[in-house]
């Protein structure tokens, strides 16, 4: 398994997989198969996939540790960037069809409606993470600072779930489902951090040397 994951083709395959939701939307759009409310269909689909990719990204660290497959770290950046890709599409459906590209109206909406406020926050927080996702930026910022910055994904994921929870009318099952997963993924990190501190008081010093293993 690790050898397959370590091969250069693994990334190519994953990349193509990550494009499937987008390809499916394009296919549906070309075949007029987006349902009665195409804008809403694309909006909901890209929103869903943003949350899913955030969850995938946040799963990498727990999974590679629990399953002892360190090679999985190779895929984290791509998954995170796909979360950003889908949130950009999601945002486009909002600023375009919903707000008619009126930035002033959008800004008023962002301030007034709490589910928009929190969703917009989730989106904005991902922008610097996408921008600094390259090896060059890790070097420039230094591992520790880079890592600190990229913890913003925790906030972004939580905001994304709240955004979803606040916009549904009465059926909260799906937002709660995402909420439960994000809670587990963040709680694991918290538990892991506690355990490490207790086991080795110098854990913080170790993390300075090997940033990727703590994330």
């Amino acid at each position: 398994m690790p050898t397959i994951l370590a091969s250069k083709w693994a990334k190519v395959v994953l990349f193509l997989f990550c494009l499937v939701p987008f390809a499916s939307l394009v296919w549906r759009a070309l075949h007029a198969n987006l349902g009665a409310n195409p804008v809403e269909f694309v909006q909901h689909s890209t929103g869903d996939w943003t949350l899913r990719f955030l969850v995938f990204t946040l799963s990498i660290t727990p999974l590679r540790r629990l399953l002892s497959i360190p090679e999985m770290i190779r895929f984290r950046r791509m998954l995170g960037l796909f979360a950003f890709f889908y949130v950009c599409l999601h945002f486009l459906t909002y600023i375009g069809p919903d707000q008619s590209f009126n930035l002033g109206g959008m800004w008023k909406d962002v301030q007034k409606r709490r589910y928009i406020t929190v969703g917009f926050t989730a989106f904005v927080l991902l922008i610097p993470l996408a921008f600094t996702s390259t090896a060059g930026w890790i070097r420039r910022l230094g591992g520790r600072r880079w890592q600190l910055l990229h913890r913003a994904i925790y906030v972004s994921a939580v905001c994304g779930v709240i955004h979803y929870y606040w916009l549904v009318k009465s059926d909260v099952r799906k937002p709660l489902f995402y909420g439960a997963i994000v809670t587990v993924l963040l709680a694991w990190r918290l538990g892991d951090w506690f355990l490490r501190r207790r086991r080795e008081p110098s854990a913080s010093a170790a993390s300075r040397r090997v940033p990727a293993s703590v994330s």
């Binding site: 349902g35 195409p38 919903d98 009318k169 009465s170």
Partner: protein, 320 residues
């Protein structure tokens, strides 16, 4: 269609030919007749869905109505595959999927409460209360999407007159059919069932308030509230109760489902009003199905000339 007690009845009167030659309906009639003969309800479950499923029937001799918009009608397929009917699930496509086997025959609507002549109406009787009118109405959902639908029915006040509301009657309470066995998807949707709605008496008696038995020239499909529903074009869609079984004239304002679920978001009146936002989203604009950008929402959904006087002197921010 075919009542168990009277299998020869119903829409045959309206469209003899189409029913007579409709293969699926004929088969279903046979199926139900068989059930009636055996007297066992469980047999219904053995009959395949395509036979028990409620298919629509053509309604003819429709009278043109003055209450009709000439706006472009929303395609039938959109109205039947994108709507809310939480008893059958909360996704827009759920009702079309999950209401297929909903049994709507026999059907009776019970009218009770503060009336001189309480009584039950069979579906067959309701269809004959008045000439059926086609009314093309705008329909605005509280979620800010809208459609234009050619409904079929007649003013609710026709039925109200027959039962003679007593002087005490101030409100009308409506109740939907609810059967958790037929509507398993209703669990977990966050609402209490049966679905209840209500109107002030003068609202209910307004000629625009439509007792609706069909759309697009046919009987109502299950997912759109078969066999009989209300349509109140100047109010948000959820006020237009579906699959109606009980009407109660009352002295006090009756509880309504969405109001009970979130009273700060859904008022008793719930008139379409672009100036009063839902606490979580704007009601100033709406997306007409089939369009990309949003259009302005009209006061009382464009029916202000007809209904605004019902609310003279009322603070519509308070009575949202």
């Amino acid at each position: 269609m075919f009542g168990r007690q009277a299998p020869e009845l119903t829409y045959c009167d309206v469209t003899p030919k189409s029913v007579y030659f409709d293969r699926r309906k004929f088969l279903r009639g046979m199926g139900l007749a068989g059930v009636a003969a055996v007297g066992g309800k469980s047999l219904l479950d053995l009959i395949s869905p395509s036979i028990t499923g409620h298919a629509t029937t053509k309604l003819t001799d429709l009278v043109k109505s003055q209450f009709t918009t000439d706006e472009k009608q929303t395609p039938y397929n959109d109205v039947t595959h994108y709507n809310n009917f939480y008893e059958f699930g909360t996704a827009k496509g759920d009702p079309a999927k999950n209401a297929q086997n909903f049994r709507t025959s026999p059907w009776t609507v019970s009218v009770e409460g503060e009336v001189n002549k309480p009584r039950k109406f069979s579906m067959e009787e309701i269809l004959k209360l008045a000439p059926l009118e086609e009314r093309i109405y705008r329909h605005r959902c509280v979620e800010a999407w809208s459609i234009v639908v050619p409904w079929i029915g007649f003013s609710f006040n026709v039925l109200a007159k027959l039962v003679e509301p007593a002087p005490k009657a101030q409100f009308v309470a409506f109740e939907s059919y609810y059967d958790p066995k037929q509507m398993p998807e209703s669990r977990g949707t966050g609402l209490d069932y049966p679905y209840v709605e209500g109107l002030r008496l003068d609202e209910a008696l307004h000629p625009l308030a439509l007792l609706c038995v069909g759309m697009y020239g046919e009987t109502l499909p299950n997912q759109d509230g078969a066999p009989v529903r209300m349509v109140l074009p100047w109010k948000y869609g959820f006020k237009s109760i579906k699959s109606l079984v009980k009407i109660r004239f009352t002295q006090k304002q009756p509880p309504t489902t969405w109001n009970r679920s979130a009273s700060n978001e859904y008022g008793f009146y719930s008139n379409v009003n672009p100036n009063v936002d839902h606490p979580r989203w704007s009601q100033a604009k709406e997306r007409r199905l089939g369009e990309i950008f949003r259009r302005n929402t009209l006061m009382f959904n464009g029916y202000a000339d007809q209904v605004a006087s019902l609310y003279n002197g009322m603070d519509l921010r308070k009575y949202y």
